[in-house]
């Protein structure tokens, strides 16, 4: 199974690409993301079709308040940036800054999830549950699925920090951090589309 690439390449490739079987995981993870793109697109399709089907519940215009959403967006964009810095530090072989940036990423992610939970709780308190309308059902499901992904990412990065502290920077841990970063940036992209196609377009009348 395990075959190492030749030493010529080993000297030049980033750590996470040095062991062939680790790079299989990177390709596999990309394929998972491709599959997740289709998952989210199905939810976007549902949302697009249900956007105007508000029954007796609130309309998007009534429901959304852009202020908190903008804060959530900035938190997530910043966490994507700090995650990029973590990879930058990893490429330079610097474990401590890597761990530090990952912790910052984690905290920003927590902030995002906290705000989103707050937003949902407020929405339900003011407007009632998703039982009200197909629009509310679609909104909570699409945005909630993204939120669940982010929450899983937080658990993942916490476990990564522990692994980095315990095992140091090896081809295996480097690969794990690299795939996490793909996941995190991917969630950022999904959020950009949620921000645009859900929140902003809900304010267009």
């Amino acid at each position: 199974m395990t075959t190492r690439t030749n030493s010529l390449q080993e000297a030049r490739l980033p750590l996470e690409f040095q062991e062939s079987h680790e790079t299989l995981s990177i390709l596999g993870f990309w394929l998972f993301l491709a599959s997740d793109v289709v998952l989210f697109s199905s939810l976007f399709a549902v949302y697009a079709v249900y956007q105007g089907r508000v029954a007796a519940g609130p309309t998007p215009l009534q429901l959304f308040s852009l202020g908190p959403v903008l804060t959530e967006t900035i938190l997530l964009l910043t966490s994507s940036f700090t995650c990029g810095l973590a990879i930058f530090m990893m490429r330079r072989g610097r474990t401590r800054p890597l761990v530090a940036w990952l912790v910052v990423t984690l905290l920003l992610g927590l902030g995002f999830v906290g705000m989103e939970v707050h937003e949902f709780v407020t929405d339900v308190a003011v407007w009632g549950t998703w039982h009200q309308s197909a629009f509310l059902s679609a909104f909570f499901t699409l945005v909630g699925t993204h939120g669940l992904h982010v929450s899983f990412g937080i658990l993942w990065v916490a476990a990564l920090v522990v692994q980095l502290l315990r095992y140091g920077l090896t081809p295996t841990t480097a690969r794990k951090v690299y795939t996490f970063s793909l996941y995190w940036h991917f969630l950022d992209i999904i959020w950009v589309f949620i921000f645009t196609a859900v929140y902003l377009s809900g304010k267009i009348t």
Binding site: Q9, P14, W30, V38, A45
Partner: protein, 126 residues
């Protein structure tokens, strides 16, 4: 400061993942001394987000135009994330994930656009 590194090109597949089947799928690794790319990507994403927000808040365009404009801005932002943060060209062997991702985007667009079209019931038959 920028060094572009390429793994040695190997023409025949070796099963060890370092084959290059199709030239445009050849991988490429990049390393820099200062995180300019990340900073640029971050700044660009903030600017694009604010631009979309302002367009909508001030109703700069008619509704259809607005939707097209903010979706275009989102697409630019997504490609920046992919290119600058996600190191799209990095791979050992051919960058098959680029092909897969392209297909995924085609399928995703198909699902959204066709679903909207199908579910709009532009028919008196139903």
């Amino acid at each position: 400061m920028t060094q572009v590194q390429r793994p040695p090109a190997i023409s025949a597949p070796t099963g060890r993942g370092d084959e290059v089947e199709i030239a445009i799928l050849a991988p490429r690794f990049e390393e820099h001394a200062f995180p300019w790319r990340q900073i640029f990507g971050y700044a660009a994403s903030l600017i694009l987000t604010m631009a979309a927000l302002l367009l909508v808040v001030h109703h700069v365009l008619p509704p259809v135009g607005l939707i097209v404009a903010i979706l275009a801005l989102a697409t630019i932002q997504a490609s920046l994330q992919l290119g600058l943060f996600m190191h799209l060209r990095e791979s050992l062997g051919s960058t098959w994930h680029v092909v897969t991702l392209a297909l995924a985007i085609v399928v995703a667009l198909g699902i959204v656009i066709f679903s909207i079209w199908i579910m709009s019931f532009k028919s008196g038959v139903s």
